[in-house]
Structures are given as C-alpha cells and as structure tokens.
C-alpha cells in the first residue's frame, strides 16, 4: 500500500492538472490579495470619514473571507476531481494496472494506496490554500478572527481538507466501474448538485421555505461538499460558537444563514468511509 501511495503522490505532481491548479491558485491568491488591499484602503477612508459601522465592517470582512474560502475550495475540488477521476479507469484502459494487479498484492491495497497518495497530496494543498487565505485576511483585517478560537480555526482546516476528500472518494468509486470521461462528468454533475442544493437551502432558510430547505438537505446528503463549506465558514468566523456573529455572515452571496450541525461532519466521515468500502468491493471483483 505504501509503495502505491508514494508513487501516486509523486505522479500527481507530474499531471498537467496540478500545474494548471497551481498557476490558477497563485493567480487567485494574488488577485484576492489585491482585492483585500483595495477594500482595506476603502475601510480606512470610511473610518476616517466617520461613516464606519463595526457590523458592516465585520460583514464585508466575512464576505471576503467567504469568497476566498469558496474559490479556494472550488480550486481544490477541481484538482481532486481532475486528478483522481481516472485513477483506476484510465489505468485499466491503458493497461497500466495489468502489471500491478498481477503482483502478489491485494487489490484492496491498491485502492487504499491510491486513496492515501491522492489524499495526502490534496490535504497538503488544502492546508496551503487555507493558511494562505486566512493569513491574507488576517493581514488586511486583523479583527476578523476575534470571535474565532484556535480550535475553531483548526476544525476549519479539518473541514477544508474534508471537502476534496469527499470528492476524491466519490470519484474513486465512479473510476472503478465507469470510463474516465463518464466518471468525470458524473462527479462534476454531483458536485454541481451539491452547490445548487446548498444555495436552495440558504434561500429556503432566508424565506422560511421548508421545501427548499429539504431539497438542500437531500442534496447535501448526496454530495456534502457545499454543506461542508458552510460549516467551515461558520467555524472560521466563530459564528457557530457565538450566535451574535451569525448576523454578520448570514447575508450576501457567501453567507451562511443556517450552518450545518456537527452531525454533518460525522455523516461526511461516514460518507467517505462508505465510498472507500464500495471502491474496494467493486475493484476486488473487477475484470481487468
């Protein structure tokens, strides 16, 4: 398993999608920094003109933080899907797996090795992006994390890492029994479903429409990535622990009017576990 994990980890760095994601991430972080710089200047001007309101400042700060985390989540989701969706299917199609599966190793170890390799790479990249976003925000708006605790920031990192891991585990399931292209399309559709479902749930909460809320909950159960993002934002801004802060993050395109409970985190871990088990079971019986 360690041999496969090591090779998978190294192989990702050679994929074009990694290079593209790295360039896009750097570009995004630069533009994001520029945007925050301008906003900070505007805030200073507003404050000196006496028009500053603490709640509005906090709201704008949270929106910018939300935007940063949202787009970085999107980038890492892109990397997770593109890098892993062909992890098994493309190697079956090319015949690369023939020389590996015929070795005295369990098929289970091949799946776990690949998952570990991709997972470690995605987790490392996620920590880098998460830290970068938080540091940029802290630099321009030092008060943004006043309501957060070290534990909530750390839990935020874990949730941020869970997002690509959910997509990775699902893409691996599809990769064992579908062709690469089909697996990729299906994974992206499900990711989109999670996003749309998340929006609907937010709107449903805002207008107290239980049908929209239920649609959102069901879509989160099918694809928990968006629910994880909202949980992440609630943790990082400290609104989960401080109900007063909910107001500052409940509005705007990156707002969270109804943060998911901790049960969602448990469900996500269960979701990943089931996906891994499914991948192992399907791959064990797969004819190559």
């Amino acid at each position: 398993m360690f041999t496969i994990a090591r090779l998978t980890f190294l192989e990702v760095f050679r994929k074009k999608v990694f290079l593209v994601t790295l360039i896009l991430s750097m570009l995004f972080l630069f533009l994001y920094g520029v945007a925050l710089d301008f906003t900070a200047q505007e805030m200073v001007q507003m404050k000196s003109a006496g028009g500053s309101n603490l709640l509005i400042q906090q709201m704008i700060g949270n929106q910018l933080l939300g935007a940063g985390l949202y787009f970085s989540s999107f980038l890492i989701a892109l990397l997770a899907l593109m890098a892993s969706v062909g992890s098994i299917s493309s190697e079956i199609e090319s015949g690369l797996l023939h020389a590996i599966v015929s070795k005295p190793i369990q098929r289970r170890d091949i799946v776990l090795g690949k998952l570990s390799g991709y997972g470690l790479m995605l987790a490392s990249y996620a920590i880098f992006l998460y830290t970068a976003i938080l540091l940029i925000n802290h630099h321009y708006n030092p008060g943004i994390f006043n309501l957060s605790t070290a534990v909530s920031i750390l839990l935020g990192a874990v949730i941020f890492i869970l997002q690509p891991l959910v997509l990775l585990s699902l893409a691996m399931v599809f990769s064992t029994f579908l062709r690469t292209m089909t697996a990729g399309i299906l994974s992206i559709i499900l990711y989109g479903l999670g996003m749309v479902g998340g929006f609907l749930e937010q709107i449903g909460s805002a207008i107290s429409n239980s049908t929209l809320i239920n649609i959102g909950i069901i879509s989160s159960l099918v694809m928990p990535s968006d629910a994880l993002f909202r949980k992440l934002l609630a943790e990082v801004t400290g609104s989960d622990a401080n109900p007063l802060a909910v107001l500052s993050i409940s509005m705007g395109p990156f707002g969270v009017s109804a943060p998911p409970s901790n049960v969602m985190l448990g469900y996500t871990i269960f979701y990943i576990f089931v996906c891994v088990l499914l991948t192992i079971q399907i791959f064990k019986k797969k004819d190559l």
């Binding site: 023939h98 005295p104 190793i105």
Partner: protein
Amino acid sequence: MLAIETHNLTKTYQGQGGCQGISLAVPRATVFGLLGPNGAGKSTLVKMLVGLLQPTSGEAKVLGKPIQDAASRQKVGFLPENFRYHDWLSGEDLLRFHASLFGLSASESAGRIAEVLNMVGLSEHRHKRVGNYSKGMQQRIGLGCALLPDPELIFLDEPTSALDPIGRKVVRDLIVSLQEQGKTVFINSHLLSELENICNHIAIIKQGNLLFQGNWRELTNRQVQVKIILDVLGNENRLADAVPTEYQVISQTPIIKNTRYELLISCPSEEDIPGLIHSLTAANYPIFEVTPVTDSLEKIFLDYVSNRGWEGR
C-alpha cells in the same frame, strides 16, 4: 507438484466467449506454449491465472496455491501483451517500484535490479525515462519487471511482438536459460516457428475449448518418415529389394535421371532409421543425404484448429 493446474476453469462474458472448462496441467521446468487462433481465449486464460480476471467457475492453482490467493503470485512473473508502464519513471526506478510490489527489500532489490537490467540488456539505459525507450526496449524492461522476483513461473504474453531479430534472439536465449535453471515458462505467442525451437509442451485452444495438451513432439513421432538422397547406380528397380519389409517406400523421385534419387520412406520409429541406412549401404548404394521428416508445430497447430486433429490426418 505442477506449475499450473486447472480444473474446468471457465470464464464467460454474459454466457459467451472466454474459456470453457479448461483443465490444464503444466509440468514444472518446462517451456509451455499456449496456442490458438485470435479470439480463442488465450489471453483470457492467462489473465485468469495471474489474477486479472475472476473465473466464472472451476478451479486453478499456480505453484500449488489457488489463484484467488495473492500469495500465489509471489514467485510469478508476468509480461502482459499490451505492456504499459509508468513512462515518467527511469528504467531503474520502474524496476525499483515493481521490486517493492514483489515485497523485495531495498538491499535485495538493488542487487536484483542490476542483474535483471543486465539480463535484458538495458544496463546502459537504466537512467533513461521509460517514455523515451523504443517499443522493443519497453518490452524488455517489462520482461525485466517480470524477472525481478527470480520467478519459478513466468507468463509471457507475446513476448517478442515488439522486438527486432536481435532482441528476439536475446529473449529466446533467456527463455532457454530460465528453463535450464528449472523455471517454468508459459508463453502465449503466435510465432510458432519460435515456439517450435524452445517448447516441448503445448496446449491448443480454439473458441475457448482445449483441443490438445502435451508434448507436441510425441505427435510427430507417431509417423516417422525419412528423406534419403542416394545414387541408384543406373537401376532404380533394384531399390525395393534393398529396403527391408518393415519400411515402406512412400515416394521415389528422380533428381538426376538414372543416377540420383530422392526417397521418402516411412519407418516404424525414429530408432529404426539407422537400420534402414545400414541396409542401403550394405546394398552398396552411395548415400548423399539423410533427413528425418517431422511435422512442424505449425502443421500440427493448423491441423487441430481446422478441426482435423491428428487422428483425422
């Protein structure tokens, strides 16, 4: 103990194709050839034996262990037909990766990799990326991967398909050397002329069914013929008297009229050929050439796959 043992091994796809009821016994320390036309089920059989396909029914053992047990492949090498390797790795790194899959320690693999690179003639290219190898070199590095565990049994699926004549000779010599070391080599190949020189035991399958297995040279020994070129000393009619009754003259063709003739004579066995020569020389016929006539592997193969079989010939 047999190297490979299968009982009614079957693999079908939606009830069709694949292999049906294959019962095979491959002795150890042999070069065993698996023959069959395209689509006969040869690759299906090999893939089942190396754990790539799950049998629909039946049983199989490799080196005494059931094929479902990954440990059965501990001392098994496999060169796939459509070989494909991580082309971004160097030849040496690729071998190191595969050695690790075989469970070799770092010190074990270091020595073995050097040996294997030497065996497949790629020592000088060890640091070159596999993606920059020619197709023949890629096939040789694949063979190297298969040789890493010092296998007791090695499956070669079309092992010379990408090789030039020199590369083919290297592989042929390697196969012979492996057999001399007591290894079993299981070859799936269309190149019957190559198999003829290195294989004694073969299996022929057609449409998923096993038609024959065993030592193909024994088939050729059932009817021994010998071609003799001699001088009839101006009287070809006397020839019949010189040939003992247990031999049968099948044909008598003049090469040079009234002097040199080519005789095709059927013998009871290969051991009886010297007796025939002795009788002819005793009758003072000058003999210029004696050639035992045996069926080629290709002829036997064609007879089987065209539904005639040996008995029908």
